[in-house]
Symmetry: C2
Subunit: 408 residues, 2 copies
């Protein structure tokens, strides 16, 4: 068996949360739990999406309109809509063969490391979405886990904390692959164009590839925050971008995302010869993946219609109002909070420096609220807790009231 | 970049077929092409599936019934139906935590190798579904490609040819992982229970794991042909089974499959300590995958209702009648054909020993029929061509008539 799996630490963060929650519910069957934990949406799908999916299901019922295997990279009708609406409208020129539809950004950010060398040195932000780290552990790039530092020996951690306003410094040693996530999960913080340009320039100068996870792009409200890394000059030569319909359009249960791999992006073989990263990813994608459900793709395309756009905006506004309720509600009782302005995540500093899991347990037992312990995202998340804006308005308001009543 | 990718040979088989077809159509725009090439279904989805999917889409429209992230391993309603109908009904006892829903068997058989050691020696049938080989090449297990033998140095090839009636001999050297596909793609041939037992016993005696691809199980007509490897005593200790809704229920465009990893199945770390394969696969699956579309899962569950079962049977019967038309039609002009009895594939020996791609080109240019060149599945496929029974009745009949008119 793959020995690298033995280096994985504990179980996946959300499994541990679910376990503690289940235990609490078993012991307190009448508790009225409000989850602001896992970043999962709760609103229904936009009406335009529902309509498009019904139509697609009907197409699948008849031999004349039935669709079997589609292109692994996605149907042109959807890829074209993505290019027009997500890129061309922002002045970014992306070609059809640079977009790869998939069944989720979790899969894409997990699978992308396969095309890199086993020796590639990776850098991640800390705190970080655990999938970036775990998939590299499985591939043998992490080195040993160090219990004292709570980190892997061969991974470069880019600390994001209140001192640097959650904007990490450049790597201290030569790295090959840099995972950046903006708007950030879990901190909810963003970079300006100027700040992101520093990373693009660094990657160009140091032959790094940036893996830019932009799953929360739809929540950006401020004008100076880049929606795509390709808004930065030269980024197509150094960056792969991941986007998802999950949070944008409520597709967490539908499964649709995409990854952009520009043809300008070069990698190197062991002799230093240039390779087109796009070619390698295309080979990986066509060999190990068989396309996204046709019904799902039709649903995704509907968010780019005028009605779809309006409905998506209204859902995003709903969640961002929740974010503001949490943010302002917690600030009003003197808590230190970050994020929640351009992202559906609020990054709460635990009161009195208590550790993340203790505060998680206290919120669960005293307020019956499930959050996500910051330390689950890495050592720099210790002393923080992530709350999400994806609940219903009513639950969000009740949750804030309950926290306000705690003696913190 | 991952240097192993440079060992991959040519482009993926079906891409090459598509390229030649496109070229022919450009040069002969009026040609009336019939494709019996890619193994893709053409009938509409069963009515019970369509109905269930409409209902699920409606559920997704409202916050009260909306479903976000589901369990990565699949919803219990579907896993339970699989266990009851596909296993319990055949006397096989499978538990909920042994079944892993996914978006396709191509993904599962491609991803499964990740949990094995880099040093694991793999054996594949020859001819073989290219994904088994290519995914191991990408992982660095194949060794160099040898142009003289048309094979990779470190892969053990189990020859399947007319001499052994497409039933391979046991490996000549110690191997760790054995890929078996029955009913076989591409030959359409099967093993009896006694014949499959030889492999299970061999795997037990030699600490091998069998990866049993059973994507075409629904097409089995003969009583003695096992539908699951777990019908063989002891198989749960040595085998992982892959099943798919793609061919069974026309889901190639919907994306749903499952993999069974019994808790009895043990692997070994480098020191010889036992590991539960189920644990490793569960970790891989929950880390890199986020579940199958809820709408698709509801559709899949509907094939286990009484109406669904009847509708699926009628579609399978339709395709198997096509298989019989091809098989008998080609035999009647003296061609040597295999398969097509318990599988939707007919494995045609090319006349006069002509090579596979030449016969492919001749069928395309003279009869305007697209088949799949046997050599695309491996060196032992040279001199064969695969035809599929997935076309419409009319096209199947016309294709056979056209072949009968050729001077072969």
């Amino acid at each position: 068996m793959n020995q690298n799996y033995l280096e994985l630490q504990g179980s996946y963060l959300f499994s541990e949360i679910a376990k503690r929650r289940t235990k609490f519910v078993q012991e307190n069957p009448n508790a009225d739990i409000i989850s602001l934990g896992i970043g999962d949406v709760t609103r229904g799908l936009p009406a335009a999406v529902v309509q498009a999916m019904h139509a697609a299901v009907d197409e699948m019922a008849q031999p004349g309109t039935f669709r079997g295997y589609g292109p692994e990279q996605g149907y042109d009708f959807l890829v074209q809509a993505i290019i027009e609406n997500d890129y061309k409208s922002r002045g970014v020129d992306i070609q059809l063969n640079e977009v790869f539809l998939s069944d989720g950004s979790k899969c894409d950010v997990g699978n992308i490391q396969e095309i890199f060398s086993q020796d590639a040195v990776i850098a991640v932000q800390d705190p970080v979405y655990p999938v970036y780290v775990d998939t590299n552990v499985m591939a043998g790039r992490s080195g040993k886990f160090n219990r004292e530092t709570n980190r892997y020996d061969n991974i470069e951690y880019l600390e994001c904390n209140a001192d640097n306003n959650f904007k990490p410094a450049l790597p201290k040693r030569k790295v090959d692959i840099i995972y950046l996530c903006y708007p950030n999960n879990p901190t909810g913080m963003t970079l300006s164009k100027e700040e992101l340009k520093v990373w693009v320039d660094y990657a160009k100068a140091n032959k790094c590839i940036i893996l830019f996870d932009s799953a929360y792009e739809a929540f950006i409200q401020e004008a100076d925050v880049p929606r795509s890394i390709y808004e930065i000059e030269g980024a197509k030569e150094v960056a792969i971008e991941f986007r998802s319909f999950s949070k944008t359009a409520g597709f967490t249960g539908m499964r649709c995302a995409y990854t952009v791999v520009p043809r300008e992006l070069k990698g190197y073989d062991k002799d230093g010869n240039e390779l087109l990263v796009n070619d390698l990813w295309n080979r990986r994608h066509t060999t190990k993946f068989n396309g996204v459900s046709y019904v799902t793709q039709r649903g995704a395309a509907a968010i780019y219609t005028p009605e779809g756009k309006e409905q998506v905006k209204s859902i995003i506004d709903y969640y961002m109002t929740n974010a503001s309720i949490i943010r302002e509600g917690l600030k009003s009782i003197g808590l230190q909070v970050y994020g929640g302005v351009n992202a559906p995540y609020i990054w709460l500093q635990t009161p009195n420096g208590v550790d993340s899991w203790s505060f998680f347990d206290r919120l669960l037992s005293e307020a019956n609220i499930v959050g996500t312990p910051g330390v689950g995202f890495g050592q720099s998340g210790q002393g923080y807790l992530r709350l999400t804006a994806f609940g219903s308005r009513e639950n969000t308001e009740r949750a804030v009231e309950r926290i306000q009543k705690l003696k913190l």
